[in-house]
Protein backbone atom coordinates (compact mmCIF):
# COMPACT_ATOMS: atom_id res chain seq x y z
CA UNK A 1 0.00 0.00 0.00
CA UNK A 2 1.29 3.38 -0.93
CA UNK A 3 1.40 5.98 1.77
CA UNK A 4 0.50 8.37 -1.01
CA UNK A 5 -3.09 8.34 -2.13
CA UNK A 6 -2.72 8.57 -5.91
CA UNK A 7 -2.17 5.75 -8.34
CA UNK A 8 1.30 4.28 -8.05
CA UNK A 9 3.89 5.72 -10.40
CA UNK A 10 6.98 4.10 -11.86
CA UNK A 11 9.98 5.19 -9.87
CA UNK A 12 13.27 3.40 -10.35
CA UNK A 13 15.88 3.36 -7.61
CA UNK A 14 19.49 2.41 -8.29
CA UNK A 15 20.93 1.61 -4.88
CA UNK A 16 24.47 0.70 -4.02
CA UNK A 17 24.84 -2.65 -2.39
CA UNK A 18 26.90 -1.51 0.60
CA UNK A 19 25.12 1.54 1.95
CA UNK A 20 21.80 2.56 0.46
CA UNK A 21 20.49 -0.93 -0.17
CA UNK A 22 21.30 -1.62 3.46
CA UNK A 23 19.61 1.63 4.42
CA UNK A 24 16.46 0.60 2.59
CA UNK A 25 16.67 -2.75 4.34
CA UNK A 26 17.06 -1.05 7.72
CA UNK A 27 14.00 1.07 6.95
CA UNK A 28 12.10 -2.08 6.08
CA UNK A 29 13.18 -3.97 9.18
CA UNK A 30 12.27 -0.89 11.25
CA UNK A 31 8.82 -0.97 9.58
CA UNK A 32 9.03 2.67 8.55
CA UNK A 33 6.10 3.39 6.25
CA UNK A 34 7.27 4.08 2.72
CA UNK A 35 5.62 4.65 -0.64
CA UNK A 36 5.64 1.52 -2.78
CA UNK A 37 6.26 3.24 -6.09
CA UNK A 38 9.98 2.60 -5.98
CA UNK A 39 11.38 -0.37 -7.91
CA UNK A 40 14.85 -1.03 -6.59
CA UNK A 41 17.76 -2.13 -8.74
CA UNK A 42 20.73 -3.11 -6.62
CA UNK A 43 24.13 -2.22 -8.04
CA UNK A 44 27.58 -2.82 -6.54
CA UNK A 45 28.41 0.87 -6.17
CA UNK A 46 27.04 4.24 -7.20
CA UNK A 47 30.16 4.39 -9.37
CA UNK A 48 28.61 1.56 -11.37
CA UNK A 49 25.70 3.77 -12.40
CA UNK A 50 26.13 4.51 -16.04
CA UNK A 51 24.21 7.75 -16.68
CA UNK A 52 22.68 5.80 -19.55
CA UNK A 53 20.85 3.63 -16.99
CA UNK A 54 19.05 6.74 -15.87
CA UNK A 55 18.40 7.98 -19.39
CA UNK A 56 17.18 4.59 -20.57
CA UNK A 57 14.74 4.42 -17.67
CA UNK A 58 13.45 7.96 -18.24
CA UNK A 59 13.08 7.44 -21.99
CA UNK A 60 11.39 4.10 -21.47
CA UNK A 61 8.62 5.40 -19.27
CA UNK A 62 9.96 5.79 -15.73
CA UNK A 63 8.31 8.68 -13.95
CA UNK A 64 11.31 9.22 -11.73
CA UNK A 65 14.79 7.85 -11.12
CA UNK A 66 16.58 7.95 -7.79
CA UNK A 67 20.21 7.01 -7.34
CA UNK A 68 21.57 6.48 -3.87
CA UNK A 69 25.05 5.49 -2.74
CA UNK A 70 27.39 5.68 0.22
CA UNK A 71 28.18 9.09 1.63
CA UNK A 72 31.27 10.69 0.07
CA UNK A 73 34.44 9.33 1.78
CA UNK A 74 32.47 6.23 2.85
CA UNK A 75 32.50 4.38 -0.47
CA UNK A 76 33.15 0.66 -0.05
CA UNK A 77 35.47 0.96 -3.04
CA UNK A 78 37.00 4.21 -1.70
CA UNK A 79 36.15 6.51 -4.60
CA UNK A 80 33.26 5.17 -6.69
CA UNK A 81 30.80 7.71 -5.39
CA UNK A 82 33.18 10.61 -6.09
CA UNK A 83 33.06 9.75 -9.79
CA UNK A 84 29.32 9.16 -9.54
CA UNK A 85 28.78 12.60 -8.04
CA UNK A 86 30.40 14.31 -11.02
CA UNK A 87 28.65 12.19 -13.62
CA UNK A 88 25.23 12.44 -12.05
CA UNK A 89 25.46 16.17 -11.50
CA UNK A 90 26.44 16.63 -15.14
CA UNK A 91 23.57 14.38 -16.15
CA UNK A 92 21.02 16.29 -14.09
CA UNK A 93 21.82 19.52 -15.85
CA UNK A 94 21.61 17.77 -19.20
CA UNK A 95 18.06 16.47 -18.83
CA UNK A 96 16.22 19.74 -19.57
CA UNK A 97 17.53 19.89 -23.14
CA UNK A 98 15.66 16.65 -23.78
CA UNK A 99 12.49 18.08 -22.37
CA UNK A 100 12.79 15.95 -19.22
CA UNK A 101 12.06 17.78 -15.99
CA UNK A 102 15.32 17.51 -14.01
CA UNK A 103 13.29 17.00 -10.83
CA UNK A 104 12.46 13.56 -12.11
CA UNK A 105 16.03 12.56 -11.33
CA UNK A 106 17.83 12.86 -8.01
CA UNK A 107 20.89 11.33 -6.47
CA UNK A 108 21.73 11.18 -2.81
CA UNK A 109 23.73 9.37 -0.16
CA UNK A 110 22.21 7.07 2.48
CA UNK A 111 24.24 4.79 4.72
CA UNK A 112 23.19 1.32 5.84
CA UNK A 113 22.27 2.54 9.30
CA UNK A 114 20.17 5.47 8.12
CA UNK A 115 16.81 3.74 7.89
CA UNK A 116 14.98 6.84 8.89
CA UNK A 117 16.85 8.99 6.41
CA UNK A 118 16.02 6.46 3.70
CA UNK A 119 12.37 6.70 4.61
CA UNK A 120 12.61 10.47 4.36
CA UNK A 121 14.44 10.42 1.00
CA UNK A 122 12.15 7.96 -0.69
CA UNK A 123 9.00 9.61 0.66
CA UNK A 124 10.13 13.07 -0.38
CA UNK A 125 11.27 11.97 -3.81
CA UNK A 126 8.13 9.97 -4.47
CA UNK A 127 5.98 12.86 -3.35
CA UNK A 128 7.91 15.14 -5.75
CA UNK A 129 7.29 12.72 -8.59
CA UNK A 130 3.61 12.56 -7.75
CA UNK A 131 3.52 16.33 -7.78
CA UNK A 132 5.00 16.21 -11.30
CA UNK A 133 2.57 13.48 -12.35
CA UNK A 134 3.15 10.69 -14.83
CA UNK A 135 5.85 11.32 -17.43
CA UNK A 136 5.16 11.03 -21.10
CA UNK A 137 7.62 8.78 -22.85
CA UNK A 138 8.93 8.52 -26.36
CA UNK A 139 7.10 6.15 -28.67
CA UNK A 140 8.74 2.91 -29.66
CA UNK A 141 8.60 1.41 -33.14
CA UNK A 142 5.07 0.01 -33.67
CA UNK A 143 6.33 -3.53 -34.07
CA UNK A 144 7.93 -3.42 -30.62
CA UNK A 145 4.74 -2.49 -28.81
CA UNK A 146 4.08 -6.12 -28.03
CA UNK A 147 7.21 -6.18 -25.88
CA UNK A 148 6.22 -3.16 -23.86
CA UNK A 149 2.73 -4.53 -23.47
CA UNK A 150 4.32 -7.65 -22.03
CA UNK A 151 6.23 -5.55 -19.53
CA UNK A 152 3.25 -3.55 -18.29
Amino acid sequence: MSVLKEKELRVIGFLCNWCSYGGADTAGVGRFAQPTDLRIVRVPCSGRINPLFVLKALLGGADGVLVSGCHPRDCHYAEGNFYARRRLEVLKGFLPVLGIDPRRFEYTWVSASEGQRWQHVVTTFTANIHALGPASFSPDAPELEILNAAAR
Binding site: L55, R86, F94, P96, L98, G99, T108, S138, A141
Partner: protein
Protein backbone atom coordinates in the same frame (compact mmCIF):
# COMPACT_ATOMS: atom_id res chain seq x y z
CA UNK B 1 44.97 33.25 -52.60
CA UNK B 2 48.38 33.97 -51.20
CA UNK B 3 47.74 32.13 -47.97
CA UNK B 4 46.77 29.04 -49.88
CA UNK B 5 50.12 29.03 -51.66
CA UNK B 6 51.89 29.48 -48.34
CA UNK B 7 50.03 26.52 -46.88
CA UNK B 8 50.97 24.47 -49.93
CA UNK B 9 54.61 25.36 -49.38
CA UNK B 10 54.35 24.33 -45.75
CA UNK B 11 52.79 21.03 -46.79
CA UNK B 12 55.41 20.40 -49.46
CA UNK B 13 58.17 21.16 -46.99
CA UNK B 14 56.79 18.77 -44.37
CA UNK B 15 55.69 15.98 -46.71
CA UNK B 16 59.02 14.13 -47.07
CA UNK B 17 58.95 13.19 -43.36
CA UNK B 18 55.30 12.17 -43.34
CA UNK B 19 53.22 9.31 -44.69
CA UNK B 20 50.68 11.84 -45.91
CA UNK B 21 49.17 15.22 -45.16
CA UNK B 22 45.42 15.50 -44.87
CA UNK B 23 43.72 18.67 -46.03
CA UNK B 24 40.98 19.59 -48.47
CA UNK B 25 40.60 19.42 -52.20
CA UNK B 26 37.86 19.89 -54.77
CA UNK B 27 34.67 18.03 -53.92
CA UNK B 28 31.98 16.51 -56.09
CA UNK B 29 30.12 19.80 -56.39
CA UNK B 30 30.66 23.54 -56.21
CA UNK B 31 29.64 24.07 -52.59
CA UNK B 32 31.48 21.09 -51.14
CA UNK B 33 35.15 20.26 -50.78
CA UNK B 34 36.45 16.77 -50.03
CA UNK B 35 39.09 15.53 -47.61
CA UNK B 36 42.36 15.29 -49.52
CA UNK B 37 45.12 12.82 -48.69
CA UNK B 38 48.33 14.29 -50.05
CA UNK B 39 51.22 11.92 -50.71
CA UNK B 40 53.16 13.67 -53.45
CA UNK B 41 53.66 17.06 -55.09
CA UNK B 42 50.84 16.45 -57.56
CA UNK B 43 48.46 15.91 -54.65
CA UNK B 44 49.65 19.09 -52.94
CA UNK B 45 48.71 21.02 -56.07
CA UNK B 46 45.09 20.00 -55.51
CA UNK B 47 44.99 21.51 -52.01
CA UNK B 48 42.40 24.17 -51.29
CA UNK B 49 41.66 25.96 -48.03
CA UNK B 50 39.01 28.55 -47.33
CA UNK B 51 35.30 28.72 -46.82
CA UNK B 52 34.69 25.15 -47.98
CA UNK B 53 37.36 23.56 -45.75
CA UNK B 54 34.66 21.97 -43.66
CA UNK B 55 35.67 18.38 -42.89
CA UNK B 56 37.62 17.80 -39.70
CA UNK B 57 40.82 15.97 -40.66
CA UNK B 58 41.42 14.89 -37.04
CA UNK B 59 38.83 12.21 -37.68
CA UNK B 60 41.33 10.06 -39.51
CA UNK B 61 44.06 10.16 -36.86
CA UNK B 62 43.15 7.14 -34.74
CA UNK B 63 43.04 4.92 -37.85
CA UNK B 64 46.43 6.13 -39.08
CA UNK B 65 48.46 5.06 -36.10
CA UNK B 66 51.98 3.91 -36.85
CA UNK B 67 53.19 6.45 -39.37
CA UNK B 68 53.67 10.15 -38.76
CA UNK B 69 50.95 12.11 -40.53
CA UNK B 70 50.42 15.77 -41.24
CA UNK B 71 47.15 17.63 -40.88
CA UNK B 72 46.18 21.04 -42.08
CA UNK B 73 43.93 22.30 -39.32
CA UNK B 74 41.44 24.98 -38.52
CA UNK B 75 41.25 26.07 -34.90
CA UNK B 76 38.37 23.69 -34.18
CA UNK B 77 40.16 20.78 -35.87
CA UNK B 78 43.19 21.44 -33.68
CA UNK B 79 40.97 21.20 -30.61
CA UNK B 80 39.95 17.70 -31.64
CA UNK B 81 43.60 16.77 -32.01
CA UNK B 82 44.30 18.33 -28.62
CA UNK B 83 41.61 16.26 -26.96
CA UNK B 84 42.79 13.03 -28.61
CA UNK B 85 46.27 13.82 -27.32
CA UNK B 86 45.00 14.69 -23.84
CA UNK B 87 43.30 11.32 -23.67
CA UNK B 88 46.40 9.49 -24.93
CA UNK B 89 44.44 8.24 -27.91
CA UNK B 90 47.05 9.52 -30.34
CA UNK B 91 50.63 10.56 -29.84
CA UNK B 92 51.37 14.23 -30.43
CA UNK B 93 54.85 13.31 -31.67
CA UNK B 94 53.31 11.31 -34.51
CA UNK B 95 51.39 14.31 -35.83
CA UNK B 96 52.57 17.36 -37.73
CA UNK B 97 50.04 20.18 -37.51
CA UNK B 98 49.93 22.97 -40.04
CA UNK B 99 47.68 25.75 -38.81
CA UNK B 100 46.23 28.77 -40.55
CA UNK B 101 43.84 31.50 -39.48
CA UNK B 102 40.33 30.22 -40.13
CA UNK B 103 37.63 32.76 -40.85
CA UNK B 104 34.67 30.44 -40.89
CA UNK B 105 33.32 27.62 -43.03
CA UNK B 106 30.09 27.07 -44.90
CA UNK B 107 27.00 25.41 -43.43
CA UNK B 108 24.83 23.58 -45.95
CA UNK B 109 21.65 24.06 -43.92
CA UNK B 110 22.06 27.78 -44.15
CA UNK B 111 23.17 27.71 -47.78
CA UNK B 112 20.10 25.63 -48.62
CA UNK B 113 17.86 28.09 -46.80
CA UNK B 114 19.55 31.09 -48.40
CA UNK B 115 19.03 29.63 -51.86
CA UNK B 116 15.46 28.46 -51.34
CA UNK B 117 13.17 29.68 -54.05
CA UNK B 118 16.11 30.26 -56.37
CA UNK B 119 17.81 26.91 -56.73
CA UNK B 120 19.05 23.87 -54.86
CA UNK B 121 22.66 23.91 -53.63
CA UNK B 122 23.23 20.97 -55.96
CA UNK B 123 22.47 23.15 -58.97
CA UNK B 124 25.22 25.66 -58.26
CA UNK B 125 27.95 25.28 -60.85
CA UNK B 126 30.76 27.30 -59.33
CA UNK B 127 31.83 29.33 -56.33
CA UNK B 128 34.38 32.04 -55.78
CA UNK B 129 35.28 33.81 -52.58
CA UNK B 130 35.38 37.59 -52.60
CA UNK B 131 36.50 38.89 -49.20
CA UNK B 132 33.45 38.63 -46.97
CA UNK B 133 31.18 37.18 -49.67
CA UNK B 134 30.84 34.11 -51.77
CA UNK B 135 29.62 34.44 -55.32
CA UNK B 136 27.76 31.49 -56.75
CA UNK B 137 27.36 30.55 -60.38
CA UNK B 138 23.70 29.53 -60.18
CA UNK B 139 21.24 28.52 -62.93
CA UNK B 140 19.49 31.90 -62.97
CA UNK B 141 22.71 33.96 -62.83
CA UNK B 142 25.19 34.90 -60.13
CA UNK B 143 24.11 34.87 -56.52
CA UNK B 144 26.10 36.77 -53.92
CA UNK B 145 25.86 35.65 -50.31
CA UNK B 146 27.56 37.13 -47.26
CA UNK B 147 29.79 34.50 -45.67
CA UNK B 148 28.53 35.38 -42.24
CA UNK B 149 24.99 34.51 -43.29
CA UNK B 150 25.87 31.03 -44.44
CA UNK B 151 28.74 30.19 -42.08
CA UNK B 152 28.36 27.43 -39.52
CA UNK B 153 26.95 28.41 -36.13
CA UNK B 154 30.15 27.26 -34.48
CA UNK B 155 32.03 29.96 -36.42
CA UNK B 156 29.93 32.72 -34.87
CA UNK B 157 31.05 31.59 -31.40
CA UNK B 158 34.64 30.74 -32.35
CA UNK B 159 37.11 31.35 -29.54
CA UNK B 160 40.06 29.57 -31.08
CA UNK B 161 40.34 30.27 -34.82
CA UNK B 162 44.09 29.73 -34.92
CA UNK B 163 45.18 26.18 -34.08
CA UNK B 164 47.33 27.34 -31.18
CA UNK B 165 49.09 23.99 -30.94
CA UNK B 166 50.24 23.92 -34.58
CA UNK B 167 53.82 22.97 -35.41
CA UNK B 168 53.78 25.43 -38.29
CA UNK B 169 51.42 28.37 -38.51
CA UNK B 170 50.89 30.02 -41.86
CA UNK B 171 49.66 33.60 -42.03
CA UNK B 172 48.55 36.26 -39.58
CA UNK B 173 46.57 35.05 -36.62
CA UNK B 174 42.86 35.80 -36.74
CA UNK B 175 41.13 37.44 -33.81
CA UNK B 176 38.72 35.28 -31.82
CA UNK B 177 35.13 35.96 -32.80
CA UNK B 178 33.99 35.90 -29.17
CA UNK B 179 35.83 35.83 -25.84
CA UNK B 180 33.57 33.31 -24.23
CA UNK B 181 30.88 30.89 -25.27
CA UNK B 182 27.66 32.06 -23.61
CA UNK B 183 25.59 29.10 -24.88
CA UNK B 184 22.96 31.55 -26.01
CA UNK B 185 21.79 28.98 -28.57
CA UNK B 186 20.95 26.56 -25.78
CA UNK B 187 19.24 29.25 -23.77
CA UNK B 188 17.12 30.09 -26.80
CA UNK B 189 16.29 26.42 -27.29
CA UNK B 190 15.28 26.17 -23.66
CA UNK B 191 12.81 28.98 -24.10
CA UNK B 192 10.61 26.22 -25.38
CA UNK B 193 8.53 24.45 -22.76
CA UNK B 194 9.75 21.02 -21.66
CA UNK B 195 6.99 19.23 -23.57
CA UNK B 196 7.79 21.17 -26.71
CA UNK B 197 11.46 20.23 -26.43
CA UNK B 198 10.55 16.61 -26.10
CA UNK B 199 8.22 16.84 -29.08
CA UNK B 200 10.99 18.61 -30.98
CA UNK B 201 13.42 15.72 -30.50
CA UNK B 202 10.80 13.14 -31.32
CA UNK B 203 10.03 14.85 -34.58
CA UNK B 204 13.68 15.38 -35.47
CA UNK B 205 14.66 11.82 -34.60
CA UNK B 206 11.78 10.35 -36.57
CA UNK B 207 13.74 11.43 -39.63
CA UNK B 208 16.84 9.53 -38.53
CA UNK B 209 17.81 6.71 -40.88
CA UNK B 210 20.30 5.17 -38.43
CA UNK B 211 23.21 5.53 -40.82
CA UNK B 212 25.46 6.51 -37.91
CA UNK B 213 27.24 9.14 -39.98
CA UNK B 214 27.12 11.29 -36.82
CA UNK B 215 29.17 8.70 -35.00
CA UNK B 216 31.54 7.92 -37.82
CA UNK B 217 32.21 11.60 -38.49
CA UNK B 218 33.04 12.27 -34.84
CA UNK B 219 36.79 12.52 -34.29
CA UNK B 220 36.36 11.55 -30.65
CA UNK B 221 34.19 8.48 -31.26
CA UNK B 222 37.17 6.19 -31.02
CA UNK B 223 35.48 2.86 -30.32
CA UNK B 224 34.91 2.69 -34.09
CA UNK B 225 34.19 -0.97 -34.96
CA UNK B 226 33.24 -1.83 -31.39
CA UNK B 227 30.41 0.61 -30.75
CA UNK B 228 28.09 -0.38 -27.93
CA UNK B 229 25.19 0.59 -30.19
CA UNK B 230 25.82 -2.53 -32.25
CA UNK B 231 26.21 -4.80 -29.26
CA UNK B 232 23.64 -7.28 -28.08
CA UNK B 233 25.51 -7.75 -24.81
CA UNK B 234 24.69 -5.30 -23.30
CA UNK B 235 21.58 -4.90 -25.40
CA UNK B 236 21.08 -1.15 -25.30
CA UNK B 237 19.27 -0.80 -28.58
CA UNK B 238 17.06 -2.76 -30.88
CA UNK B 239 17.34 -2.41 -34.64
CA UNK B 240 13.79 -1.08 -34.85
CA UNK B 241 12.97 2.21 -36.52
CA UNK B 242 11.54 3.81 -33.40
CA UNK B 243 12.07 7.27 -32.02
CA UNK B 244 12.98 5.92 -28.62
CA UNK B 245 15.87 3.79 -29.86
CA UNK B 246 17.06 6.45 -32.25
CA UNK B 247 17.05 9.15 -29.61
CA UNK B 248 18.69 6.80 -27.16
CA UNK B 249 21.53 6.26 -29.58
CA UNK B 250 22.12 10.01 -29.57
CA UNK B 251 22.17 9.93 -25.80
CA UNK B 252 24.81 7.21 -25.90
CA UNK B 253 26.87 9.37 -28.22
CA UNK B 254 26.33 12.56 -26.24
CA UNK B 255 27.03 10.85 -22.90
CA UNK B 256 30.24 9.33 -24.19
CA UNK B 257 31.26 12.76 -25.44
CA UNK B 258 30.46 14.57 -22.20
CA UNK B 259 33.50 16.59 -21.20
CA UNK B 260 35.29 15.47 -24.36
CA UNK B 261 33.32 17.09 -27.16
CA UNK B 262 35.16 20.05 -28.63
CA UNK B 263 32.11 21.28 -30.51
CA UNK B 264 33.47 20.76 -34.02
CA UNK B 265 29.92 19.99 -35.14
CA UNK B 266 30.85 17.22 -37.53
CA UNK B 267 28.06 14.99 -36.14
CA UNK B 268 25.47 17.52 -37.13
CA UNK B 269 27.07 18.38 -40.44
CA UNK B 270 27.39 14.71 -41.40
CA UNK B 271 23.74 13.98 -40.67
CA UNK B 272 22.14 13.52 -44.09
CA UNK B 273 18.74 14.54 -42.78
CA UNK B 274 19.90 17.58 -40.83
CA UNK B 275 19.13 16.66 -37.23
CA UNK B 276 20.64 19.31 -34.89
CA UNK B 277 22.74 16.84 -32.94
CA UNK B 278 25.33 19.30 -31.68
CA UNK B 279 22.69 20.79 -29.39
CA UNK B 280 22.74 17.63 -27.28
CA UNK B 281 26.50 17.65 -27.03
CA UNK B 282 26.57 21.31 -26.17
CA UNK B 283 24.16 20.72 -23.33
CA UNK B 284 26.80 18.47 -21.79
CA UNK B 285 29.62 20.87 -22.62
CA UNK B 286 27.81 23.70 -20.88
CA UNK B 287 27.49 21.55 -17.77
CA UNK B 288 31.13 20.53 -17.82
CA UNK B 289 32.40 24.05 -18.44
CA UNK B 290 30.11 25.47 -15.79
CA UNK B 291 30.90 22.91 -13.11
CA UNK B 292 34.55 22.23 -13.73
CA UNK B 293 35.76 25.15 -15.84
CA UNK B 294 37.06 22.70 -18.38
CA UNK B 295 37.30 23.42 -22.10
CA UNK B 296 37.78 20.25 -24.11
CA UNK B 297 40.63 20.30 -26.58
CA UNK B 298 42.21 23.35 -24.97
CA UNK B 299 42.82 22.38 -21.34
CA UNK B 300 45.65 19.96 -20.82
CA UNK B 301 44.44 18.72 -17.42
CA UNK B 302 42.72 15.37 -16.93
CA UNK B 303 39.22 15.45 -18.43
CA UNK B 304 36.86 16.22 -15.53
CA UNK B 305 34.79 13.07 -15.66
CA UNK B 306 37.94 10.96 -15.37
CA UNK B 307 38.84 12.51 -12.03
CA UNK B 308 37.23 14.03 -8.91
CA UNK B 309 37.79 16.22 -5.87
CA UNK B 310 36.99 15.23 -2.31
CA UNK B 311 35.03 18.43 -1.96
CA UNK B 312 33.26 19.71 -5.04
CA UNK B 313 32.71 23.41 -4.56
CA UNK B 314 30.67 23.73 -7.75
CA UNK B 315 28.29 20.90 -6.97
CA UNK B 316 25.44 21.91 -4.70
CA UNK B 317 23.78 18.74 -3.57
CA UNK B 318 20.12 18.69 -2.71
CA UNK B 319 19.25 18.87 0.97
CA UNK B 320 16.96 16.13 2.09
Amino acid sequence: MAIQDDIKSAIAEALPGLSCVIGWGAGPEALRAAPLFMRDAADVDKFTAGFLAVNNPALFLPSLKGAKVGLVVKGCDARSVGQLVAENLVSREAIHLIGYPCRGVIDMDKATAALEGRCEPGEVKGLREENEDIVLDAPGGEIRLAKKDVAADKCARCRYPNAESADVFVGEKAAPVVERDDYADLAAFENMALDARKAFWEKEMSRCIRCYACRNACPLCVCRDHCVASSREPHWLTQADGVRDKLFFQLIHATHLAGRCTGCGECERACPVGIPLLTLKRAFSRQVEGLFGYTAGIDRSTPPLLTFKLEEPAIKEREW
